[in-house]
Symmetry: D2
Subunit: 114 residues, 4 copies
């Protein structure tokens, strides 16, 4: 019970990118209100050392523009106590409208991620 389940890292990545967007003044809910969705089309993680129960973690997230309709986020997870690097990963997201068609990212998001 003391080691974090590997699928959970992808949940932590989501926390990382949500907070990154929030720090840019955007939230997923904002974006969805404007008809923009960012489904995950690819996800990867390399697990270097397990996170354990009660570990406090830092999630360092960076976003970059792959194209006007595609974003990639990179994530690094560190244990707070000793800054040990536990895992690294990425997710790639399509930018689509509610019908699933490609939807150009707004200029302000493109500018920040470029």
């Amino acid at each position: 019970m003391s080691v974090a389940y590997h699928a959970n890292y992808f949940i932590w990545f989501e926390v990382g990118r949500s907070e990154l967007l929030r720090s840019l003044g955007k939230t997923y809910r904002n974006l969805e209100t404007t008809g923009l969705y960012l489904p995950v089309i690819e996800a990867r993680c390399e697990f270097r050392e397990p996170a354990r129960y009660d570990d406090l973690l830092d999630i360092v997230t960076a976003g970059s523009l792959v194209s006007p309709v595609r974003i990639q986020f990179q994530y690094d997870i560190f244990r707070q106590t000793d800054k040990f690097h536990l895992a690294t990963g990425l997710t790639v997201h399509a930018s689509i409208n509610p019908s699933g068609k490609p939807f150009r990212l707004p200029q302000d998001i493109q500018a920040v991620l470029a």
Copy 2:
């Protein structure tokens, strides 16, 4: 609520490899009893089309030996009704003992995965 959460695919992958091992007469619990652990050290998924609530899915799993202390599993997820290919992924596992040291996979598992 109608689209499966992306982290869940990694849970389905785990179901796939558990059942693959079971079909070979092994279970994780058996292996752990012999002191062999197979933690995930890398995981990837490409999401082609979302699984939706109530979809019945087929998980096709294949395992291959990377080295005497490393296994890779590949997964393909299909929707049962129309055989549509929803996702493809892989996980890489180290074979270790309870102290975390590399542990050579038993010959019978190596033979099957070779």
Copy 3:
């Protein structure tokens, strides 16, 4: 890692009620197509004995009509190998339309659950 996480039992309960509905010729997706949603408004579980990794489980599910706009499902989880009773639980569901207003359950579902 060898004991199932307690929140997972509620996922298994969902599998139980989905399959119960499916056996009645209904699926959540069918119901949602007719504008009927069944959100969980209460959930409970008593854990008697832990499920362990690789345990094959039976989920016995029963549904009953609380009112024309409310359903309760009961669940019992058994280990397949020895029929040991691992857990018991329930969920209560409101029947609502997409605006969140009470929506009378269709007569055929009421008849089956009555």
Copy 4:
């Protein structure tokens, strides 16, 4: 995708009790080091209003001693923006040793929770 999955509330409850213990100078890991385990033996939640994607939530947690070998935690989840009360729940925990036998809670924890 915009409404939180009901099983997740039990994960948030766990965050609440972990942080409550941490604020008392204890962590699960500390306790387990002393041979004390606190498995969930009962869990309940009433869902009043759904949490939505990107909602920031407050989890208010209180613990009480049921007996020298049993703890109950109560949880209330509020949406930060408007303090709306989204859910209320509880978990009951047995205090056991690694063999699963009842293990009296340490006096300092009993004192705090009494």
